[in-house]
Structures are given as C-alpha cells and as structure tokens.
Amino acid sequence: MGGGAFKEKGEQELTAMPEDRLIAYLLEARTHRAPTGLSVSILVFKLMNDVRRRVAMKVPAEAIDEVAETVLLSALTSRFDGTSAGEFRSWLTTIIKRRIADYHRSPKTDVRLVPLPDEHEGDDEVWGRRVSVPFEGEAIDVERALDQAKRELNPDHLEVVSLYIFEDLPAGEVAGRVEGISEANVHKIAQRFRDRVSELLSDRDDTST
C-alpha cells in the first residue's frame, strides 16, 4: 500500500501545518486513500477570500467567483498532476495571473474548462505571451517593473522590501528580523526600491512613445 507508513492526522495537527506541508499531507493522504476532505476545507477556508480579493481587481464583478474557484481548483489539483513548481504561494500567484488572462482572452468561456498548460514558472517569454491582454497594458507595465526591481535585490534586501513595504511592518521590527540591517538601512533600501520602480516605469514610457 503506497510504500511507507502513513499516519492520518487530526484537525489540530492539520490546522497547525503551514500550507506547503498541508498540501504535501494532502498528496500523501490521497495516495493512501485516506480522507482528504478536512485538509481541502482548511485550505479553501484559508485561501479563498484573498484569492477572491486578488481576482476582484482584474475581472468584472460577475466573473469573480468563477475565476476564483477555478484558481483554487487549478492550484490544488495541479499539485497532483506534476505541473506545479515552487512554493505554494508563488504557485498560487502564477495560477491567479494565468486564470485572469484566460478569462480576458475568452470572457464567455467558463474558465473552469480551460486546461492549465505545462508550467513555465519564471519563463518570461512564455509568461509574457500568456498575459498579453491589450487592455491591461498599464497593469502589465507596473507588474513587470515591480518584478524586475525585486529580482535586482539580494535576498536580504528583498526580505526588507517584502516586510517593510508589502507587509507594512515598522522599520525597527524589520531591522530586528533581517541580520545586519539597521533601521536606517531599512528606510534607504525601501526608498531605493521605490526609486527603481519609478525609473523602470519611466523607461517603459520612453520606449513606448
């Protein structure tokens, strides 16, 4: 049976698991034909509202639920068919962007029926083609500028930007979490990041005119 000992976990253990571990457990439980309903319910409960919020920024109100449901369905089932890659949150972001693009390519098609192609996480060329929806030009420019500015940061500085800008933690707390970074450095790194994003956006303006 499936190889190796499998121990079914209870609600307390499942709710204490980080997402990636919970998904790994889900895969193992499925292999052993153990119940997976609770694991799926926990993941849906933890993820769905924020997926809806993220989708709501990019599709009309009447399509939010359909696209958001498709995102979760794709993200969770693709963990099982060998097409997923990377940490789950990063993977989820990839799926969200692709499913939004699927919707805009064919608004009348139920996105639940659009198969997810082989994944190319981090492959800019493939990625670029998939999200090239004309009306989204400004949004795409901004996302690309942010992605590039992030890629140019070293891991410590990226963590500073993530915590200070994207999680809005106080500079002192960020400094305490990232070794070798002072509070003053946090402000400088964040400002340099903002400046770089502005510069990249200006460059895009120049090349598009």
Partner: protein, 213 residues
Amino acid sequence: MTNVDTLLKEYIAAHRAGEEADPRDWLARVEGRERALLAAMIDGYLERAPGPAWDPDAFRMSGLAPLAERIDLALQGRAGTWPAVLPSLSDKARLKHSEVVARLAAALGVPDKQDKVGSYYHEMERGLLPAEGVQDRVLEALGSILGQRAEVLRTAGQAFAPGAGADAIGGPAFAREARPDPEHAVEPVSSPPASPGTAEDEWDEVDRLFRGG
C-alpha cells in the same frame, strides 16, 4: 509618502483588522498608473498575507463547503475536474440534475433507461467514472445540453496524476468522503462489467455508452 503608499497602508490595516477589505474600494480612489501600482502592491501584500485561522463554524457559515467538496471529489476521483465542472455547467444552464439526465437519456436514444443514465451521470459528477470509458457520443450529447464542446468536456475529465493517488495502489478510485444522495447511491465502479447494479450478463447499451470507451 506617496498616495499609493498611504492607501496601501490603509488597506493592510483594514485587512488585518478582519474587515471586508475589498481592494476595489481602495483602487477607486486613484487612477491611471497609480491605480495599477496600488493594485500590484495590494496583490503583493495579499500574496504573503496569512489566511484566517481555521474556524469550523465560520467555514460552515461561509458557503465555501460545496466548493471544498467539489475540489475534494476532483482530487479523490478519477475524472479530472468533472466534479467541479459538471454541476457548475448545469447551474449555468439553469437545468436541474433530473432535467440533464432526462435530456441525456433522450439524446442517447434510451429514454426508457433514465435511471441507469442518471446513475452514470451521478458517477460522472462525483468523479467516480473514468472519463476514458465514456464514449464521445455521450459527451457530444451532454455538451449540447450544457452548452460545451465534447472535446472540452473530455479534456476536463482527464484524471490527475497518472500513477498517483488511487491508481498507484491498484484499486478502483473512489471518494471515501463522498456521501452520495441516497437517491443516486451507487457502488463505485472500476472496470466493466461491474457497473452499478449491472451483472455481467446484463451489460447493455447504456453500460457500453458510459464505460465501453
């Protein structure tokens, strides 16, 4: 501090406070590139934001249970996303389960075998019936009823993870937590002729349509 920075901080505070935090309310306060930038920043925050702690009561009240069940059925079953897609398509077409079954049986030329068609369709919805056994004729008929092309339904029914899950251990796939409506309760099937309520010598046209490939 820019307008975007201020709005992002406000948004994060609202989200952390457990408010509805619909990003569109914040995006409506800026335009053009600032709007796109704020959307990307909010998205960056939400990508990392921890979800709510598990609360069974809140889950029950959230209306998310049917979605979780559909995803679970898809994961446990052997028919790809059919458990999620088929009920959704019939909802969209404003057709009750019984209406889909009646039309399907009629379209297949077996109006007198609605019960058996209903059992098989129920298995499709629960992810219990391997898609590869379902004949094109069934999917073409179903597609015309639900407003989809047969090949699209075929693709949606492709099982996940070849070699994984129940397939990996050699047994028939079945959703252990699935609790079929008693009205449609059927035994899970693996390969012909062990179809719902059908003995080997009773293998008929309906079995062939749904399980004969």
